[in-house]
Symmetry: D2
Amino acid sequence: MEYKFGACLPTFASCADRYCLSGYGGGGTTIEEMMGLAATVPDLSGIELVGNWHINDDNIEKVIKLTGEHRLSICMVTVDLWTQAKWGKGSLAAKDPVTRKAAVKEIKKAMDWAASAGCPNIDVWFGQDGYDYHLQADYVKSWEWLVEGLKEAADHRDDVRLLVEYKMKEPRTHCFVSTVGKAILLIEEVGKKNVKVLLDSGHASSALENPAESVALLNGRKEKYLAYVHLNDNFHQWDDDMLVGSVHLPELVEMLFWLKKTGYSGWLTLDIFPYREDGVGAATESISWVKAVLEKIDAIGIKKIEQVLSANDGVESVRFLREFFLGER
Amino acid sequence: MEYKFGACLPTFASCADRYCLSGYGGGGTTIEEMMGLAATVPDLSGIELVGNWHINDDNIEKVIKLTGEHRLSICMVTVDLWTQAKWGKGSLAAKDPVTRKAAVKEIKKAMDWAASAGCPNIDVWFGQDGYDYHLQADYVKSWEWLVEGLKEAADHRDDVRLLVEYKMKEPRTHCFVSTVGKAILLIEEVGKKNVKVLLDSGHASSALENPAESVALLNGRKEKYLAYVHLNDNFHQWDDDMLVGSVHLPELVEMLFWLKKTGYSGWLTLDIFPYREDGVGAATESISWVKAVLEKIDAIGIKKIEQVLSANDGVESVRFLREFFLGER
Amino acid sequence: MEYKFGACLPTFASCADRYCLSGYGGGGTTIEEMMGLAATVPDLSGIELVGNWHINDDNIEKVIKLTGEHRLSICMVTVDLWTQAKWGKGSLAAKDPVTRKAAVKEIKKAMDWAASAGCPNIDVWFGQDGYDYHLQADYVKSWEWLVEGLKEAADHRDDVRLLVEYKMKEPRTHCFVSTVGKAILLIEEVGKKNVKVLLDSGHASSALENPAESVALLNGRKEKYLAYVHLNDNFHQWDDDMLVGSVHLPELVEMLFWLKKTGYSGWLTLDIFPYREDGVGAATESISWVKAVLEKIDAIGIKKIEQVLSANDGVESVRFLREFFLGER
Amino acid sequence: MEYKFGACLPTFASCADRYCLSGYGGGGTTIEEMMGLAATVPDLSGIELVGNWHINDDNIEKVIKLTGEHRLSICMVTVDLWTQAKWGKGSLAAKDPVTRKAAVKEIKKAMDWAASAGCPNIDVWFGQDGYDYHLQADYVKSWEWLVEGLKEAADHRDDVRLLVEYKMKEPRTHCFVSTVGKAILLIEEVGKKNVKVLLDSGHASSALENPAESVALLNGRKEKYLAYVHLNDNFHQWDDDMLVGSVHLPELVEMLFWLKKTGYSGWLTLDIFPYREDGVGAATESISWVKAVLEKIDAIGIKKIEQVLSANDGVESVRFLREFFLGER
């Protein structure tokens, strides 16, 4: 299997929303408990940690040791640019220069933690960088600040990659880096070798993208920008962070096919929010779905599926899907 | 099999949109050709005809004969309340009383044609009854006109049923009878035994309804209002009228399950627009999808699926779907 | 002025979301502080309190006194059916009968508190009653449970009204009572005089309803069901709970016009979430917007606007809006 | 006034949709009639013509003369890559190389017509280049074909600009060049000086973009790509092509502000579909809206509005909008 499966650590905690701030219950409360639960998920080998929250100067040794004991690796350190009120009006693109400086510093810290933990990946999701109201933001300056901040952070060290994760909305009504096209534009303007893109399938689809097509744009042109993948599902209106395999099945098949076709290898990490579900069950089932689809794709073969594409005919495509999911008749 | 499969006749014609008004080609041009193509689709036994366009005073004898020769039945006559400029600002709820009167008359004509053809169903889709702009319509009067018109038409004869087909938008930016809730309200206010609801799965889903839940509301309460079903698929943003099985598979499984569970029997009719596809292939493939899902539901059994519902647990639901589509592992 | 302006108390607290659970800061932390802030908003005369959270057996005397001291009235008590993990899988329509019983009891408690406080309104927003996944819920039973629970609660006392607030999604991906049509169906099935509908403009518009049309359906037919109004704005994709006047201006004008035209009087209450804004400023500005539009409507006159509707012409409607907002030219 | 107002010629014809293929009536049927109607719209000075349909080898002399007689100029020639069945499965990115070649040829013809007519702008809207179904298209090859075709066409002559018009969907369920980000990526890859971007405000907003932000991205960075603007409005779900000023007013103010702020000058062309409205009235009213907003922006001054942005506070933004639309209070 050319892919490794990861999960965000909060999968194994109690997930909250704005109505039930204490969380819907279940899951662990300490990092030890969460990690212990993660370790019980078959085929799971990596875990994503959020800076400050899960990993910090005080606990880093302990966390590295703990991860090793559970035969897990840290596949990603996510910079904390969104869990505190101070980032509320932006981080890298905040109007306040002190905040922008603090954001860059936070990225650098995360890079150092990641390097210490042998993890080459930083998730730079600047979800608070955006706006809520019309006539509230200077789009040109904001974009320049994003570019500047990423450049400076990228220069901090070249053994860790900064992965820009785009998302259309939430927590702002409009996030600046909202689509695959803008994500590519941004990193091309940044122009650093260690700045790449993280594709979250649910962010893509709730931006009305077909994730497979976004994979092709990121990974099928001369420059390959796709460095990491988040998986989840939703109803295409919002980032519901549901289990993989719950809503959009042809979309999933097509996306996994294009990951293979364009030579993506590496992490397939669950970014799900099992608010009312058992975290271990939710992760296990999601991975089972992905594995089952990947195995079926392998059994059929890339060539055969390319022929379906090549027919360029909706009837052929739907027939292929029926045979894929319900067998030949 | 407790269901019969139908199709709208234009499936077998050249489908047009506002850009390519002459149609994307393929299909038949005469009713004879379209019917001939329909007759080649396995398991298809019914055909929907649009009043004036396909069936009218001049050709009704010929059309009935033609249908019989092809071993098809006319499962529905659709009233022409939308193909001509005169309906542009509404039919049953037009501000102009002359137009409203003409609309009622048109329904009565369609009822007579249907009765002559042994067809008990009239599709009353008043798609032009709505509005495009804010402050353009009197919602209260419009609703009253809809009720009045339907009452009068329903009284014309009781051997034919008027089936209200709801849709959120298109051709207007807002259609008056837009959701399952409003459709039920409307027919309850009309209060005639021969006025029921037609559920178009794609209209439901592009109104952000989960079609299965709409089936339950229509057919699972004391009064059963569901009298007919249109099937197709879309991307939940618009009434794309795509092949069944192309986008939303769990949605399809759940809807067909609820049709069975609530005791719906009768027509499952394709309302697809194969703009760039072969009509016969598109219809054949869509029916194959529906049959394959129905057979699998039967093999599993309603009881077993009710247990999944009863678990009330997302993980169980997604696991069931995986086993349904990819087998036990 | 025939309307009174209210606000939900959390407008004056620190608003949180799933990323920044401690809230974006600003606002008060105690009920005294929040009430004190509310009292500084010009034209604000009512305040909504959430049961348990703001008002409960222990503090009710104090809260009533406090409200009076600030020359505010309690315009609504909202039942707590959503802030605790125990409601996560539903309240009135939970599968677990113990939870359903507890939900009814909670409504009764809220009714008693409201009666003690001289408040005739209970907001029954059962936002957790819904589902997230396909094949996770029994829609028929759930609906019956909602009807049963509301009936029992309504019988508790007839001097307080239960106001059903519909919403399409959030916190579930699908809430059962999602649209204006379903809300009316529900209360008609409940059939109690003291069960009415609360229209939240943002819930309507994020369900793709035009709020003006929903007002007409609720308040323009024989039976008048509209008993209370929540105001806010959003981008029609999600319940963003933004300031009134921020995004959809013609929608606002049309809705306020229809409230007047159908004879609604009573509360216009802000249900806004000023995550990153000053609560007092946000409430003040929202009320200023509503007042300015209402005054302009009064200056023009209902008759004149009815003529615009009567023209049934998009050009006339858009011209009217231009003159409304930018003056005659 | 730094802007010139244009309109697409079909504004003055009978607009059709897939239900009423003969059009909803009104408007002219010949180019003479349409042009005559256009000439009566105050402030309208330019007209867009579609190749083959309105302008071709046979009538070009006549059309140029006619335009002059009406004191109009041809502000744009739109290539016909979408009105005929032969483009149904794509034009520049069609799988069939013969079709791709024909598409390039069609662009070159349009360039020659434009040059003859003294028009420097070609609208390259390859709306049929996309896909409807999952697993129907090779996204990598399609993108390469787009790049190749545009390169070849651009080299045909450098006195005419090719303006790429992006759109998310319709007529395909997914168009390849769907967002502002992808449009910029595409023309950067093409790398020709005479290939720029056309921003259609309704295409942007129905792709969930805020058009003002898209203007900033296109025209506020080092390389300026914005060369032409289409104006219309919609409900953000579909390209409704409604009158300007009908739905999203703050969006309109912000967009026009950003056009000014980033130094855009040139055409503001209406791309509206007045299906059921009088075309002359619809165009007149739309231009009146734009002029009224522009004049108010000028009266207030760019500096003052920049201060609102600079406050970076939703309350300030909404207060500004209230004063803009309803005056100081």
